[in-house]
Structure formats: structure tokens, C-alpha cells
């Protein structure tokens, strides 16, 4: 079994590029060039230098002593929250902005849910002096206000998406429409391992730095590059893809993907794609998605804007279907408690997305000697008002 993409752009039966003809030239250009561009020494040098000097990589692999004691296992947190702009998202936007420059693009568009990808995109656009337009669902604009303010400070234009569930899915639709309308000078920086091929593979490769670092950091700290478990939350799946990447073929490293159960997997208000989804097409990719019997895409729900997405990247659909990763769904309530627990045990306020991953320690027991690496995908500054309202702090 391989977990790499095949030459047609599929992971097993998932992936491909189900796009209207209007997008064909752009997507095809990217497909033909992405590997070649990424392999250029000059690209790699610039990418690595920015990750180091601008983003602040390597992000620490932090042994969480008090959390480990509490759950009687060895927990390492991969600190993507310490990246510039506060989440893993910037690894990808740095890569894509360099790609866009090499493709001669002058205008950047993006979708965003939690706003982290929007901020990360606005950031790299400011850095490179490129125009930036970010689509964001109206509901997300309300619940992630600090990130809206940040994008605007950075000079990006934030356009509300008011169709459908007014969240990430709809923002993505709007971004795709913009790209259709601006076929020549515009690059679309997708924020997760979703969308038509080659996006899932390209984004996964940019995020792969996460597991590349985990390997040498664990070697340094534990004398062994491989943990027993890698845990990550999954919205579209990019932080998970990055954290899993270099472990995909090592099947003794167990992978755990945590999805948002919202008010409960069967409550009708959920975003637990692996439990509720069926194979279909969303945003140009054949993958698992939540949909009606008729193939209408379901409006998802999660307290976390970054997980509030009815699909999952094709890699993850493949990991689920093949059993390579275990999928666990965590409710709003479980996530919020786990987020607060991390604050008070380790002095780290996690993004609510990440808090879902943290909640699995209450769900699933680990052995005292297990080495568990958890992708701390982002910091919770953007979520303070949600936390506050929830806990009445």
C-alpha cells in the first residue's frame, strides 16, 4: 500500500481535478510545474530561509511534562502555534507565494475559515508586495474577528461569503469563482490539502517540514526518530498531512486524525466527515464529504471555524478508507475542556481546532511508555471570545 499520490493525482480512489474548464489552464500550469519549481535549488533556498528567519522554524518539539503526568504517557507537542502568525498555515503560504512569483502571478486570492490561513496569506502577500483578496464566511468573520482585523492591517481585502452555511465551504466557492473570473494574473492559495490536484500534494509537501523536524527532534530527545503515535486535528487536513508526512510509510507509527463532532456525531450539527461522509466531489476533488442522499453538500457545524468543513482532503479519505489512520470525533464540549486544560497545565492557549486533538487523551488511553506527538497546530488568541463566552470567564 502506498500513501503517495499517483501520477494522475489520486490517493487510492481519492483526488483528481474535478474542475470547470475555466480553471483548467491555471490548474494545469500548476500541475505541470509544481514539482519542478519546488525542486529548484533557488526555490528551496528561499523557502528554507524564510521558514527559518521569518516564520521562526524549527518549531519546538516540547515535552509536556504536566500533561504527560496527568495522562500517564509521554506527550510531545509540536509547537506550530509558535510560527509567525500563530499556526501551521504559514508553512504553506510561504511555499505558495514563492510558487506564485515563479509563475508570474500578481494577484493572490485565498479562502479562510478560522482566519489563520487568511492571515498567513495576507502576511506573505505583504511580504512580497502582492495584492491579496481573502474570502471568508460571514459567520466566521463574526467568530474570528481578531483575524479579520489582522488581515486588514496587513493590507488584504476581506470579502464576506454570504451563501450556504456562510463558513469555509462557501468562502472556498467564492474563491474559486474569483479565480474563474481572473484566469490570467491570479494565483489561488488554497489553505489546506483540499481542492483539485495538484493542490493536496503541493500543500502536503509544504507542510511536510513539520514531520521532517519531528523526526530529528525526537531523535535528539528520545534517541529514536519515530514516535508511537502522531495525533492531529483535521479540518481540510493540512496540519495532519504535515505531521504525518514522513511517517506515512512507517506503519508502526500509528496515526490519529481528530475530527469535529460538533454537538455530537449524530446530532445533525457536526463536521465529522469520516463518520458521516460518503465519496463525492467537493471543491474539485473526489473525496469523502458530508452530503444528502441527493448529493447536496451538507452544511457542517463546529464551534471551531477551522474544522467547520464538510469534506476532508483526499489523502485523509485514503488514510481513513485504508485504515492507515484512526479517526476519532470530538465534540465542542470535549474540545473546549481540553483547550482549557492545556492552558492551565502547560500555560499554552491552543486554537480550538487544536483543542479537538488534545481532547483525545480523555477518550483513548495510552501506555506509560508510548511516545505521542501531537500537532499543536495553532494558538488560541483568535478564539479568546469563544472561550470566554463558553466558560463565562
Amino acid at each position: 500500500m502506498t500513501y503517495n499520490i499517483n501520477e494522475k493525482g489520486y490517493y487510492g480512489e481519492f483526488g483528481g481535478a474535478y474542475i470547470p474548464e475555466m480553471l483548467y489552464p491555471n490548474v494545469e500550469e500548476l500541475r505541470l510545474k509544481y514539482l519542478e519549481v519546488m525542486a529548484e535549488p533557488d526555490f528551496q533556498t528561499e523557502f528554507k530561509a524564510l521558514l527559518k528567519n521569518y516564520v521562526g522554524r524549527p518549531s519546538p518539539l516540547y515535552f509536556a511534562k504536566r500533561l504527560s503526568e496527568k495522562y500517564n504517557t509521554k506527550i510531545y507537542l509540536k509547537r506550530e502555534d509558535l510560527n509567525h502568525t500563530g499556526a501551521h498555515k504559514i508553512n504553506n503560504t510561504i511555499g505558495q507565494i514563492l510558487m506564485a512569483q515563479r509563475l508570474g502571478k500578481k494577484r493572490i486570492i485565498a479562502e479562510t475559515g478560522a482566519g489563520q490561513h487568511g492571515v498567513a496569506t495576507a502576511t506573505v502577500c505583504a511580504l512580497m508586495g502582492l495584492e491579496c483578496i481573502v474570502y471568508m464566511g460571514e459567520i466566521d468573520i463574526a467568530r474570528q474577528a481578531p483575524n479579520v482585523a489582522r488581515m486588514q492591517m496587513l493590507g488584504a481585502k476581506v470579502i464576506p461569503a454570504s451563501s450556504g452555511s456562510k463558513t469555509l465551504k462557501d468562502a472556498t466557492n467564492e474563491a474559486i469563482r474569483d479565480w474563474i473570473n481572473n484566469p490570467v494574473d491570479t494565483h489561488y492559495i488554497i489553505g489546506s490539502v483540499v481542492g483539485p490536484h495538484p493542490y493536496p500534494d503541493m500543500v502536503a509537501r509544504f507542510q511536510a517540514i513539520v514531520s521532517e523536524e519531528i523526526k530529528w527532534q525526537l531523535q535528539e530527545q528520545e534517541g529514536n526518530p519515530n514516535p508511537d503515535y502522531v495525533i492531529a486535528c483535521v479540518g481540510g487536513g493540512s496540519n495532519a498531512a504535515g505531521a504525518y508526512y514522513h511517517f506515512l510509510e512507517d506503519t508502526n507509527v500509528k496515526l490519529i486524525a481528530v475530527e469535529a463532532a460538533g454537538k455530537g456525531v449524530n446530532s445533525g450539527e457536526s463536521a465529522a466527515t469520516s463518520s458521516l461522509g460518503k465519496i463525492g466531489i467537493i471543491h474539485g476533488s473526489k473525496t469523502l464529504l458530508m452530503q444528502s442522499k441527493d448529493g447536496q453538500i451538507t452544511e457542517p457545524y463546529s464551534i471551531s471555524a477551522g474544522l467547520d468543513y464538510p469534506g476532508v482532503g483526499p489523502l485523509h479519505a485514503h488514510l481513513f478508507q485504508s485504515g492507515r489512520a484512526e479517526f476519532i470525533a470530538i465534540t465542542d464540549d470535549e474540545a473546549m475542556e481540553a483547550g482549557l486544560e492545556l492552558c492551565q497545565l502547560e500555560g499554552i492557549i491552543p486554537a480550538i481546532e487544536t483543542a479537538h486533538a488534545l481532547a483525545i487523551f480523555k477518550e483513548k488511553p495510552f501506555q506509560p511508555n508510548d511516545i505521542v506527538v501531537l500537532s499543536l497546530s495553532g494558538r488560541g488568541d483568535k478564539d479568546l471570545s469563544t472561550y470566554n463566552n463558553y466558560f463565562n470567564i
Binding site: Y18, N173, N181, K278, I281, I282, Q291, G295
Partner: protein, 254 residues
Amino acid sequence: MNRINQKLQADKKLLSIYFTAGYPQLTDTVSIIQNLEKSGIDMVEIGLPFSDPLADGPTIQASSTQALKNGMTTETLFNQLKDIRKTVSIPLIIMGYFNPILQFGVEAFCKKCQEVGIDGLIIPDLPVDVYNDNYKSIFEKYSLVNVFLITPQTSEKRIQFIDSISNGFIYMVSSASVTGSQTGFGNDQLAYFKRIETMKLKSPQIIGFGISTNETFNQAIKYAKGAIIGSAFIKHLKHEGVSNIDRFVKQIRP
């Protein structure tokens, strides 16, 4: 011979109209088609509404959302169309996104199309290569014409390829844009129309996107076999419902 190909052979420029099934009222479908035929329309695209119509602008999006709210489903549409051929003889095409068709089952869907008398399909997000590898034989089995799109950005080589596998007409998107975002043709578009005309493709071309008036219709048919109106007609339905369709059509082609 498929009704579409018959129509394409006629020595006449064609006016085709798109509408979203189930809009403005769930049960308007048949009456709209009948009225369109009566007004002299040559071909109809029946939109199967989708929750996430990513190639469509706000007008068609809103009609799809409303149609779904009204209760339109794939099954309902086929039920509504089951006797359509008793009253309507112009070619009928279903235009819809791939996911609902995939969920219905591609073969089941094609079979149903044939049963009710649908002549062709336009599936904007079904890529040419996937169609070719997996679905061509099914479409052919049920005598369905599959219509591909080209845009000003489509390369000459790709146009040749699309022409080679087309068995009906080529849907020529007037400019790279979502539906409903153009209001007239500029020089770039006219140049593109001319460029395609001089390619002398085997498949006739019908121009869509941005046609809303007699003027734009006339410009389009100078270069192509016909033109398709979408958003402009949806706006008519929004304001006047199924009434006065004849008047709407006469404004475009008096």
C-alpha cells in the same frame, strides 16, 4: 439521430435558454419548458440545482438555493419530466454539477435521461479526461450528447482535442468568468470569437455567458451557431415567474 444534432444541422442560428429546475416554484419546470418552446426557443438547458454551484454567479446561485429549498431533487426532476416528450419536441439538455449525478449513479442517471427524453448533458466539473476514461461509453449507450466547455484561455491544442471528442456542440464560454458576470462583449471577446471561427472545428459552437440582450445575441450568432441565455432569463423568472416568457424571448430575438 439525437435531437441536438438534428437541430445543429438546421440552417439556422440557435437560441438556447438555461433555467434552474424547481425555480421559482417547485412545479414550474414543465410549464417553463413548454412556454420556451412556444416562444420559438431552439433548445433548453434544464439546470439540476446544486448546493455549491462554483461556476455560477449570484443569480444562478440564488435560483439553485431557492430550488433546493422548494424541494427539488434529482428524482423529483425526473418525475416532473417523465411526460415531457408528450408536449415538447425541442432538444433538452440537463446541466448540473457532477456530485449529484455521481450520487444518483452515473449510469442510472443516464438511463433515466434517456427514458424521459433528455438529449444531452453539460457537467461543468466533469473533466474531459475523466469522462473519456470512465463515462464515455455509458453516455453513448444511452445516446446522450456530452457538451464540453471552452474558454478564451483554452489552448488551441486542447480545443482541437475537445472538438475531436465532442459529439454535439461545443459550449463556448464567452469570457473566463462565472455565469452572469458579463454585460456585453468587448474587443477581446470578439477577437476570441473570430479566432475560434477561423479554426473551422467539426463541432458547431454555441456561445454562452454574458448574453442578455438582442445586441449581444446578434453579436454571438455572427460568429457561432447559436447562443445560450442563462442569468438574464433567471432574472425574468424572478420578477415575472412563468408569465411573459414569450415577451422575454421576443426581446432577444424579435
